[in-house]
């Protein structure tokens, strides 16, 4: 890496200069203004526009599912029934989970942000299959409509996992919901195929695998999981629909089948899916930390390879979701051990990020604040994952708030925080406007305080035995539930402040230069916002994406 770095400075700078020169010759309209009218968006095959459409859609569903979450927390403010019946509570948490997972977290970073930055980072004009990309967006929309239709069709109260045999006997909306998730899976597969091919075939000249930004590595690993795991979800949900309509009996004990088989099928997809959710977050954090501490990333190869390692290991740990569900004890022990293995590549990443910060010239910008929040919350989320992966402890903690707190620490404290940091980081690139730094930092602080207040208490609640998915609880849990609910309100305020800051930036923010962070990776070498075809001339890469021109290199490894 060291000899790369010498070359890169000249290469990267000359690229930027030639870009600046050609800009001076003929200002070209940005992708936002190159074509106008609604139709130019509806039928666009430009990855940046599709990315923005995805972003709008995912943020919309984030809002909906977030409001559902606030409703749930508010109901839990007291131990008695307040304004929701038990049945309503079941429906609301099911919808909260299903929308968050299938319509927000899975597509948020790969499809929304990945679509925007991946070709830019690779120096490509577009993704490999632009039409497929648009198709995948519309398939996602169909899935969204189907999942929303379950609201009209009646009760969906299975939780987002649709466990049999309950999902076979409860309300009819299950069919629509599973079909919705099935369709969302197709959208996910198409995006995955697109990204793998783009990463393989569309890299700019000189962009070797070891010169790819870590965000690209993370998106690549994610795409591989999407391609390899989602088909199994498709067939699982397909079988569930068949089970409900024809009752073929594979998953139904009354007909001679085995409900544990459903859980195997479901988690073979859904555990890797957890990494579909978090891996792109890792990628964002790798970018944020190195760019905003002006220092070459520590352990580039280790971080890149750990992404791939996580992708592979994620396929052999699914049984840790089933420790108490009739899985054999021996399988439980094997899965428990394999689960510990995931901690290794994950820890490699966290240590590398911390080592990157060490000796860097850290700028406390909003993205950096979010990255620091991530380090805190994700580490807690990851470590409690090891607790839950331990067979004996999981038997005690299974189906309690401890589990709820754990996966929220990973999904919200990890993915969502990384996603927000990434939004602030790339917002100037997306819209050519700077956001208000003060408001951004306040939002990060509110998210941090609100999030930890909400979910830290749930670890204690869970440890004391508060089971998940209950709308009412014993009085001794009330104090901590109230703290948690107040935390959720603070978190909501923080998130609304994010929304306000970002929208305010589009309208009133000052114009961003093409490279406001002085970053090196290729997306910062084109105009902000980029032109329709990304680059005037195909950029040539000569070095690592993290060799910062004016960095303090004393801390280099």
């Amino acid at each position: 890496m060291s000899d790369d770095s010498k070359k890169s400075q000249s290469g990267a700078q000359s690229g930027a200069q030639s870009e600046a020169q050609s800009e001076a010759h003929k200002p070209e309209p940005s992708y936002l203004t190159a074509q106008r009218g609604l139709m130019s968006w509806v039928v666009t095959i430009d990855h940046k526009r599709i990315g923005l459409m995805y972003l709008t859609a995912t943020l919309f569903f984030f809002l909906i599912a977030g409001l559902l979450a606030i409703t749930l927390r508010t109901e839990l403010f007291t131990g008695q029934q307040d304004f929701m019946s038990a049945a309503t509570y079941n429906k609301v948490f099911t919808l909260h989970g299903a929308i968050m997972v299938f319509l927000f977290i899975i597509p948020s970073v790969p499809a929304a942000m990945g679509n925007f930055v991946l070709p830019l980072m690779l120096g490509a004009k577009d993704v490999a299959f632009p039409k497929l990309n648009l198709l995948s967006f519309y398939i996602y929309c169909i899935a969204a409509v189907m999942l929303i239709l379950t609201l009209v069709l009646g009760s969906l109260d299975t939780g987002w996992t649709f466990y049999t045999p309950y999902s076979k006997t409860t309300g009819t909306a299950v069919i629509m919901a599973t079909m919705g998730a099935f369709v969302a899976g197709f959208s996910s597969i198409l995006t995955g195929i697109n990204f793998v091919v783009t990463t393989h075939k569309m890299r700019a000249p000189g962009m070797t695998w070891n010169r790819m930004p870590l965000m690209v590595w993370a998106l690549y690993a994610t795409a591989l999981i999407q391609v390899m795991a989602t088909p199994v979800l498709a067939i699982t949900l397909f079988l569930l629909v068949i089970e409900r309509t024809l009752s073929i009996g594979i998953f139904d004990p009354a007909m001679g089948g085995d409900p544990v088989l459903y859980q195997h099928f479901f988690w073979f997809y859904s555990h890797p899916a957890v990494y579909i959710m978090i891996l792109p977050g890792f990628g964002i954090i790798s970018e944020l930390i190195t760019v905003h501490s002006r220092k070459h990333i520590f352990g580039y190869r280790a971080i890149a390879m750990s992404s791939v390692a996580i992708a592979v290991i994620s396929f052999v740990v699914w049984g840790h979701h089933m420790f108490v569900s009739g899985q054999s004890e021996l399988a439980g022990i094997v899965f428990s051990f394999l689960t510990f293995v995931v901690a290794v590549p994950t820890a490699i990443k966290v240590f590398s990020w911390v080592a990157t910060l060490y000796g860097g010239s850290i700028r406390y910008t909003t993205p950096m604040w979010y990255a620091l929040v991530f380090l805190w919350t994700f580490t807690i989320g990851g470590l409690t994952g090891v607790y839950l992966g331990t067979l004996s402890i999981d038997v005690h903690l299974h189906d309690t708030y401890f589990v709820v707190a754990h996966f929220h620490y990973v999904m919200v404290g990890g993915t969502v925080v990384a996603f927000l940091g990434g939004l602030f980081h790339w917002w100037p690139k997306m819209f050519g406007r700077m956001y208000n730094e003060t408001l951004g930092r306040i939002s990060a602080l509110l998210v941090f305080i609100g999030f930890n207040t909400t979910f830290m208490t749930q670890f204690f609640l869970g440890h004391q035995g508060m089971p998940r998915r209950y709308y009412a609880y014993l009085p001794e849990y009330e104090a901590m539930h109230q703290v948690s609910t107040i935390g959720s309100w603070i978190l909501a305020v923080g998130l609304f402040l994010v929304l306000f800051t970002l929208i305010h930036a589009i309208k009133y923010g000052e114009r961003a230069s093409s490279n406001p962070w002085n970053a090196v990776s290729l997306e910062w070498h084109t105009a902000s916002p980029p032109i329709e075809h990304n680059f005037h001339t195909t950029p040539t890469v000569t070095g690592s994406p993290y060799d910062f021109p004016e960095i303090d290199k004393t801390g280099k490894h």
């Binding site: 091919v197 075939k201 391609v227 067939i235 397909f238 089970e243 594979i250 007909m255 001679g256 329709e532």
Partner: protein, 222 residues
């Protein structure tokens, strides 16, 4: 980028705007298709696993119930699909060697085989439905005089799901093959530009591949 249009004059008509060379476009399309092929394999693997589980749970039942499947029809369909795979491969070769006539001929044979497969499947299904050898709730073999174990309904559930999903793939195959045939008639393909034919070929071979495993498992279990 209209100002740079002059630079594009040497670009062939089928080269999309975001690719630099034809080779890049072709290899992207193929890699995408292979990834898709992998997803197909993984998707069917779930059904195969369901089959093996059922077989593990009820070894006797699977043997007895599968005796009722029509081995002749299954064998005939195997031959039909293998033939169609063969002609598909020849079709791709014809496209590679600029032999448009042979391409069209081979595509027609392939489509014909696919339709023949579905016709045989139709008769098989009708026979099963008439005899009440149906999945799950609709299973009524006993009323039709078949002394099969009760859980045969699960076997027929698996049978209909596997062959049904495979049949859907055959139908989709007929669709894409016809589309390629129409494009071949318009003489869109040449030795430079045949990746669409090749990709449809890969899809069709996957359909064949699934059947190669389905056939012995469902029809010839012993």
């Amino acid at each position: 980028m209209s100002t740079k249009a002059s630079e594009h004059e040497d670009r062939p008509w089928f080269l999309a705007h975001h690719f630099d060379t034809v080779g890049q476009q072709v290899s992207s399309a193929k890699l995408g298709m292979w990834l898709f092929a992998c997803t197909e394999v993984l998707m069917f693997s779930g059904l195969f696993l369901a089959y093996f589980i059922i077989r593990q749970l009820y070894p006797e039942m699977v043997l007895t119930a599968s005796e009722e499947l029509n081995k002749t029809a299954g064998g005939f369909n195997t031959i039909v699909l293998l033939t169609s795979s063969f002609t598909m491969a020849l079709g791709v070769r014809a496209a590679q060697t600029n032999n448009n006539k042979a391409l069209q001929r081979n595509l027609l044979i392939t489509i014909g085989c696919a339709i023949a497969f579905m016709i045989v499947k139709y008769f098989e299904y009708t026979a099963k439905i008439e005899h009440g050898l149906l999945p799950g709730e609709y299973y009524s073999a006993l009323e039709h005089g078949y002394m099969l174990p009760k859980y045969s309904r699960v076997f027929y559930g698996v049978y209909f799901t596997m062959t049904g999903l495979h049949g859907v793939h055959v139908l989709v195959g007929i669709g894409v093959l016809s589309w390629i045939y129409i494009r071949a008639r318009r003489r869109e393909f040449s030795s430079e530009n045949y990746v669409a034919v090749e990709n449809v070929g890969i899809y069709w071979h996957i359909v064949d591949l699934v059947w190669i495993f389905l056939f012995p498992l469902l029809y010839l279990v012993k």
